[in-house]
Symmetry: C2
């Protein structure tokens, strides 16, 4: 049994391979050293040095920064460096709930290694052998982790959306939850991880919600992002988490471990207990230097 | 509203006022600089320097370390430096679940600033306006925080006890829970804090448990440690947490905030949300350098 390796694999990050992305003297992201050269095509936007990528001081305010980064995004797409736009905007802010620094196409989040926020909803019901989850199988057409298992509902928090509004929207789109039902979901904490990915770095905070569903509820996907839903007992899910690497999308392993910790399926007698409790929440607030 | 000040006040600690307590080259505790002089009376046990208190290299193994610290405890009590023994043994270990370093009378935990472990049980039931807690009023005879409000069940984990065994024992003694009922409690996470106190330093991990109680259950104290029990809605408890400093014993504020985070009474739209989630779990595993 090893839950902890998921915490470790979701936090694999070698700082020597990245340059900090600075805005007005503060780090707002990380760019891979071997990608940073592509930004030399935009000398009016980025200043490159041996130890940082700096957004030009001439770019003043969130509107100007958003326009500049959009221009860079289009150029990088034309050059074939990054994939086409996702056409969904994420807000990069000065901390959760803080002021907007700029908006960015979702597809560029990892290239620039900026902090992103998402909601994950554990849809569960009470079974004979403890909690049971409604688990989604991600559509084969998804850009990320096609065909892997996922929480009943999960989605990134787009620019202009609050966490709760995102949850209601995604619950309706992904699992067909009417708001009369989804408003019974409740916040249950937050998880943070930061990991190197082929496209750059993912630095994400997951706001976790639980909903105890009526026994006769069956989720129904409406946006094409889910191939099917299945019932799996929480114990079976945790067995899959502990024994497999790619059954669940990588960050979903963390959400299921967190559920196990909160609902007594992982107990203090487990040797890694405190490492798990702490490892799921490292540096939530400040990110890292 | 300010939940965060409880996280801050439970983590007030000025390292410059303390010396690390070293055993075999590792820090196992902290001794107040202005108390360390009292240890000069035991030169065969402690070596004092300008920057550390070191347990003598001649003390080999947990039995010898326990005997040496017992001798020092008796001497410090005779000299009036510390209060009489509590006659309850705590195990100081190489991390949770790790090997025993020594046992220590509970009354000396703060003097030596060693890591201690406790269990706290949120006894709750479902009310018209959300969760309601059974809240204990600590007996006026308690050594710590007499008359303050407390979780239904709370207690330190003594040497030789597991977390779960401590929970069952304390639930029976403090609130009269028969094991048939208390075995429905479930682990729900852990909280860590480290704070300067008049006697030294408290470095504690609280293993948090929840139990959803039947509506007709009424707790009944059997060990004299509780004056009475009362029902308070979770929202009213969180109002008291946010607006008062001494209604609840200090660490109980953290347990109630944690319950609020897990049960959706404190939500991501709260500006301090991530600071709370992270602040309750700082440095659970390693302690601090």
């Amino acid at each position: 049994m090893s839950y902890l390796r998921h915490v470790e694999s979701c936090n694999r990050f070698d700082p020597s391979r990245f340059l900090p992305l600075l805005l007005a003297g503060r780090r707002v992201g990380f760019v891979r050293r071997d990608s940073a050269g592509h930004l030399e095509a935009f000398p009016h936007i980025f200043r490159l040095s041996a130890d940082a990528v700096t957004l030009s001081d001439a770019i003043d305010g969130p509107t100007a920064a958003t326009e500049a980064l959009d221009e860079a995004t289009d150029g990088l797409i034309r050059a074939g460096v990054v994939k086409p736009r996702r056409n969904e905007r994420f807000a990069v802010t000065d901390g959760w709930g803080g002021r907007l620094l700029f908006e960015l196409d979702r597809g560029m989040i990892e290239f620039f290694g900026v902090r992103a926020y998402a909601v994950h909803l554990n849809g569960w019901r009470s079974g004979a052998d403890g909690p049971e989850f409604w688990i989604a199988k991600r559509a084969m057409s998804k850009a990320v982790a096609p065909g892997q298992l996922d929480n009943m509902v999960a989605g990134g928090i787009g620019a202009g959306y609050a966490a709760w509004a995102t949850l209601l929207k995604e619950a309706a789109e992904e699992a067909g939850l009417p708001e009369m039902l989804s408003r019974h979901a409740h916040a249950a904490g937050a998880i943070r991880y930061r990991v190197e990915l082929p496209d750059g770095m993912r630095d994400e905070v997951l706001f976790v919600y639980d909903i105890l569903l009526p026994p006769d509820f069956v989720p129904r996907n409406t946006d094409g992002e889910v191939d099917d839903f299945r019932i799996l007992s929480a114990r079976e899910c945790l067995r899959l988490v502990s024994e497999t690497d790619h059954q669940f999308m990588y960050d979903v392993n963390l959400v299921l471990i967190d559920f196990g910790l909160r609902h007594g399926l992982i107990v203090p007698e487990e040797p890694d207990y405190l490492a798990l409790v702490e490892g799921l929440r490292g540096s939530l607030v400040r990110g890292d230097a």
